[in-house]
Structures are given as C-alpha cells and as structure tokens.
C-alpha cells in the first residue's frame, strides 16, 4: 500500500489524497485465487455482454419462426438440425436466439427495478434514520405493513390493474422492493447519526441534505452495494415468476421466465429443451450474483475480510 493519507503538492498546499485504488490490486489478486467467485464473475460478464450485443450474437430473429421447423430438439439429439443448436420452439423460433434476447429483457428488468427501488428505498431510509421522530415512524410503519405481506400478491394486483407489460412490471416490482433498502439504510444511519462524523459536519454548518449525501451515504454505500447485487438476483427470479404466470413480459417478446411458461405445455410431449435451458440460465445467473454479493460482503467488511466461506 503506497498511498498516503495526506501529501504536500508542489504548490506547498496540503491536499488530501483519498486512497481510492489501493484495494483494487489486492482484491484483483485475491479474485484470481478464488476460483468460484471468478467463475461467477466471468459468467455474469458473459451473460451481460451477450445481452448487450444480442443483435450481433443471436443467430436468428427471436420473434420469427418457420412453422415447419417447429419443436426441433437440440443438435445432439436425434432429429436436431445443426442450424438450431438448442432446438426450436412451438412456433419454430430458434431457442438460442430467444434465450439471448430473453436475457436482455430479464437483466434489464432486474437492473431498472433495483435502480428505482434502491434509490427510493435508500433515500427514504436515510431520511427516516437521520430525522427520526414522526418521519421515521411513518416510513417505518409503511415498511412494516409491506414487509408482513407477500409482495408477489401486491405485484399481481398492480399488474392486473395497470395491465401487463415490461414497464408496468418494473413499476410493480419496484413498488414492493424498496423496503429492504429503507430498513438497511435506516439501521446504518442510526449508528452513524450521533457519531463524531456527523457532529463535525453539523458543526461546520453543513445542511442536512449535504450531510446525508456527502457524509453518511459514502459510509454506508458498500454494505448497500452488496444488497443491490443480491436484490438484482431476487428481482430476476421475481420477473421470471411473473412472466411465467403470464403477467410479466408479454409475447412476442422473450424473457427467460416467459420462455418457460410458453414451453411448459410441451414437456409432456418430450419438449424438455424449452424449459430446461432458460431455467438453467436463471438459476446460474442468480447463483452467480449471490456468490458475488456474498464475496463482496466479506471483502468490504474489514472485520470479516478473508473469512469467505468459499
């Protein structure tokens, strides 16, 4: 570690240098040793890249099928064609292409839901913890009411009223996902609020918003970040469930959950590839995000560093 907390630059003024990147090297080295986390990270990066560049990578149009090529099994099974590596679905659409485009939708929903609910939840939690009193009581009562209740049901009601579709799905999932962040942010703010950090900031006359944004938020960001990653995994599962039930992404668009939902009717006839592959992708993505989040938690918390179970 070669960074110094403070240095005198050429003008003779004291400038503080933040030790920003000193961790990057050691973390990178540890990552190479930890094979499981590395594998998870590589998998997620591959999935994200494939999703971002779906138009380039996908061999066929995901919405266009040739009906006489319907329900072709994967290439290694009898009757499969080398054109469609993972087979075709009930409308003769290429399964691999649909999986790539479906990943795009699933990841996008996961990302935006966490972006929206994470921002709202964190801000509400910060305010509740910082101001206390009535604001705290009101926000936490809301959190409690929603916490005691299966969010799935509220999400279904939401979608029923607004009509299914990607945008409404994001709204519905964000609506019942914000409580986790609020709870966590509030808890951590409470432990910082009465400490010397905030006291000093108050003493120099910083306004509350600035204290929250500049002084408290950076200190609680890393635990929150692990939560964001974990929540993306949970939202991917929730999106898959909603789409599977028919209340999420609507055809002819594809999402992993929707592909399973549509392919479900064909499993008794032997069409296993329609459900197995998207399910595996969901499971592996969620697993990878869980592993990464767990690793981040142990790496970022100085008390737990190096205690990672994997």
């Amino acid at each position: 570690m070669d960074s110094k907390p403070a240095a005198i630059d050429t003008n003779g003024q004291i400038r503080t240098t933040r030790p920003r990147f000193y961790m990057a090297k050691s973390v990178g080295r540890k990552l190479l040793k930890d094979k499981l986390v590395l594998a998870a990270l590589v998998f997620i990066i591959v999935v994200v890249l494939l999703s971002l560049m779906a138009p380039v990578f996908s061999p066929f149009d995901p919405g266009q099928g040739t009906i006489w090529e319907r329900l072709k099994p994967p290439v290694w099974q009898e009757g499969g064609s080398p054109q469609h590596i993972l087979g075709t679905d009930q409308q003769g659409r290429d399964v691999l292409s649909r999986l790539i485009w479906g990943g795009r939708v699933s990841l996008r929903v996961g990302f935006f839901v966490v972006l929206v609910s994470g921002t709202v939840g964190t801000i509400l939690g910060l305010s509740a913890g910082y101001f206390g009193g009535r604001i705290d009581g009101l926000i936490m009562r809301l959190v409690d009411i929603q916490f005691c209740f299966p969010g799935m049901l509220i999400a279904l009601v939401f979608v029923m009223v607004l009509g299914p579709g990607e945008f409404n799905l994001v709204l519905a999932l964000a609506f019942n996902g914000w409580m986790v962040y609020a709870r966590m942010a509030r808890g951590m703010v409470l432990s910082l609020r009465d400490g010397p950090l905030v006291e000093a900031a108050k003493a120099i006359g910083a306004p509350p918003v600035k204290i929250m944004y500049r002084h408290i938020f950076p200190n609680i960001f890393s635990p929150l970040l692990t939560l964001y990653v974990l929540e993306i995994a949970r939202i991917i599962l929730a999106e898959a469930t909603m789409s599977f039930l028919g209340y999420g992404i609507q055809p002819p668009k594809a999402s992993w959950g929707l592909i399973i939902g549509e392919g479900r009717k064909y499993i008794t006839a032997g069409g296993w590839w329609l459900v197995v592959f998207p399910g595996l992708l969901i499971a592996l993505s969620v697993l990878s995000l869980n592993i990464i989040s767990g690793w981040m938690r142990t790496e970022m918390d100085p008390l737990q560093r190096g205690k990672s179970l994997h």
Binding site: I154, Y247, R264, V275, G279
Partner: protein
Amino acid sequence: MYRYIFFRLVNAIVVVCGVSLLVFILTRAIGNPVDVMLPIEASMAERVKLTQQLGLDKPLLTQLWDYFSRVVQGDFGMSWWQRQPALTVALERLPATFLLVGASFLIAFVFAIPLGVMAAIKPRSLLDKICSTGSLLGVCLPNFWLGLMLIIVFAVKLGWFYTSGYGTWRHLVLPAVTLSVLPLGRITQMVRSAMLDQLQQQYIITARSKGLAEWVVVIRHALKNAGVTIITISGWELGRMMAGYTVVIEVVFGWPGLGHLVVESINQQDFPLLQTLTFVIASIISLLNLAIDLTYPFFDPRIKYD
C-alpha cells in the same frame, strides 16, 4: 400479557387494513372495473347503469366507508365471476392450501433442524459444506422451474406421481417437495448460525464441565436457546409460503388452493374476490406472526409480556 396481545392484535388489524386499503385504492382509483366487465361494444347507458349498480359513481371515500363497514359485518360482497359471496369462494380453497403448505413446512422443518444442528456441531465438515451449497442452490433455483423438472423426471419419465391434480397423497408429493426446497435451505442455514452462536456461549462450557452427555448439551441447552431465532425464521417462511410461493406452485401443479384462485381471479378481473383474498391472506399471516410471538416465553423465560 393480555395487554401485549391486545397491542399486537391492534397492530395486526392496522396491517390488514393497510393492505386492504392499498388493494382498494389500486383497484378502484387506477383501474376501472366497468371497462373490464362489459364488452367493448357496450353502450354508454349500460356503462353508467353498471357503474351505479356497483356503487362506483360515489366518491372514493364513501366507497371506502361502505366497503369497510360491510367488511366489519363479515360481508365481503359478491364475487363477480362466481356469483357467490366472495368470502365463501375464498374459504372453500383454504383447506387445499393449508394441506400443501402444511406438508411442505413439515418436510422443511423435519429435515432442516437435524441438518442445521449437525452442520453447526462440525463446522466446515463435509456435511456442513453440502448443507450450505444445497441451501444456496435452493435459494437460486426458480421454484416453478424446479417443479417442472420434477414433473419431467418423476411424472413423465418414471410415472410415479401425477403431473397435476388434487386428491390423493400421490398428487401431494411433488408440489409439497417443490415448495419445501426454499424454506428448507433457509431454515437449515438459520439453525446452523443460531446453533453456532449458542455453542460458543459460556453456559455450554458449564454444561459440559458438569459432565452432561453431549446430546443433552446440544439438544436441551443449545437448541432450546436457539429456539427463538429458529421459530421466528420458520414462521416467516410459513407466512411467505402462504401466499407468495404457493401461487406459482399451485399453478404449476394445478392445485386448487388460494394461490391458484388468486391467479384465476386476476384472469377473470374479479376485484371483490381479489380484495377478499388479500384480506384473508393478510389476516392469516398477521395471526401467524402473533402466534409466533406468543411462543417466545417457552424458549426464553426472560421474555415476558407484561
């Protein structure tokens, strides 16, 4: 004690009312039931007539007051789809859901306790690693997909169980096992960490130095003290199963329970039924939470409600 129960009951009522209010506002203020119930070609007069019939022309607050005053009398209105009292329709489905949730919870609980305890006794052993890997997998597998995989293997290929339906124990096995995977993993992890905490306490050393048999130390001392955490988490899981996870599992296996009814009522755009269902589910979960709280003094006599 009674004071505490009273306060918790008030709290439960607030939660149930809050959820009902939320659903009420969502369905009436944002959605329009009339558009859904009448065909598109219906005339304006028909629309107005139905709006009046349903009482939707009144101000929202009046509607809300009407609704809650009738709910207090036990009248949840008629299901538009079934043309029966919504509460009857909902309660008819309750036994099936209770059976499914009860069976899965039993599976989860019976396996989770010994697995978690054994994993905690020998941390970092092979069993412990299998348990934590298994739990992680259980959390990560989409449960509806797991159900479909079980159907492919055990119903389609092997023919041991049915793909869907309700009636015999052979109908019950697959949905119950599928539903139990997630809580099994989470309860096992919770038992493990709670037991690890307890086994490091001073009183365990005392118990051992008294010469008590190891199983007495583990079961009677450590496990009982870990009880509060385990029961809390198990109750949570039970609550989340009740309406969260059963919905999709019941759809996958064609199980005629509450969750299936939720999806059906949404398909039929049956607002009164959906409103009733959320009320029933919220009440069950609130009562469950209260029941869990009341078991605490058994595990930890220091907890007294007065």
